[in-house]
């Protein structure tokens, strides 16, 4: 469809170029998704091992199955994200940053999720 002059559409195409995301966004997002998956998996495994017979415990693993939907998991993500800048400053390289982030996730999950 040609709504305006062809050269105006070319101008629009030139003005609205795709914007590359910052490299650290891609890394941070991948790490968040990996950790969400692992957190949910841990929840499900713990449930299978210890609480199969107690219906009162069914709610929590069911929540884990929908991963990011739980407030606890969301809280973990938010808290870990909030400390991203300080971890970045403390890390000498990307690998160290990834290790610190993973450690932070585990700590935060231990702190928040068992109380729920």
């Amino acid at each position: 469809m040609s709504a305006g002059a062809p050269d105006f559409e070319a101008l629009l195409r030139e003005a609205l170029v795709p914007v590359d995301p910052p490299a650290d966004l891609a890394q941070r997002l991948e790490l968040t998704l990996v950790n969400l998956t692992e957190l949910a998996q841990d929840e499900l495994e713990a449930w299978e091992l210890s609480t199969m017979r107690d219906p009162r415990n069914w709610v929590r693993p069911a929540a884990a199955a929908v991963v990011g939907a739980t407030a606890g998991t969301a809280l973990v993500v938010l808290r870990v994200r909030g400390r991203h800048r300080s971890r970045k400053q403390q890390s000498a390289n990307l690998l160290e940053l990834a290790e610190r982030t993973l450690h932070d996730f585990a700590e935060e999950a231990r702190r928040i999720l068992p109380d729920r």
Partner: protein, 182 residues
């Protein structure tokens, strides 16, 4: 695309594919929608986290159609909430390139091109639906059908929307140019 996902691992692998294929699309959309990189990063993250939560159902219901419009629709809804929650509108100008560290920025690309700056400023002043349609068409390269799915409109309504958006923007830009020439 097969409709049945056999395992969680396969689902995650499919999501990773989707994420890698469309991270730039979601980020570009977010950036042009909110006008700065900081909020665009937040919006992009929230979009993919929400997409991850609903991915299995989306795959099931997509019938093999591309999921890009679904992703952009999530970003669109989150952006609407973003403005509602913060009671603000998109920034009128694209932020200063010196403030961020993206591989490249629209500011640097349009540097020295007054007409491009004028186009970007005009895009920010368009009504929301027209601005979004233009971003999807020109920044993301989506066709009418994809844009229609992302905006929840018919193909015909989308065609009209794009037509009007381009004409309105062209009028604004030409009007500015004439005013400056006087």
């Amino acid at each position: 695309m097969p409709d049945t996902i056999t395992s969680k691992a396969e689902l995650d692998a499919r999501f990773t594919e989707l994420y890698r294929a469309h991270l730039r699309d979601v980020y570009s959309y977010s950036y042009y929608r909110v006008g700065n990189h900081h909020d665009a990063e937040d919006l992009t993250e929230q979009t993919f986290l929400q997409a991850y939560r609903h991915f299995e159902r989306a795959l099931r219901e997509s019938n093999g159609r591309p999921l890009r419009p679904w992703l952009i629709r999530i970003a669109h809804n989150l952006a609407a909430n973003f403005y509602r929650d913060r009671s603000r509108k998109p920034e009128s100008a694209i932020e200063d390139a010196g403030m961020i560290s993206a591989p490249h920025t629209t500011e640097s690309l349009v540097e020295g091109r007054e007409e491009l700056k004028s186009v970007l400023a005009g895009v920010q002043q368009l009504p929301d639906d027209r601005r979004e349609a233009l971003i999807m068409r020109f920044a993301l390269g989506m066709d009418n059908r994809e844009i229609a799915r992302a905006l929840g409109r018919t193909d015909g309504a989308t065609k009209v929307l794009l037509h009007r958006a381009i004409r309105q923007l062209e009028g604004m830009v030409n009007g500015n140019a004439e005013a400056e020439a006087k």
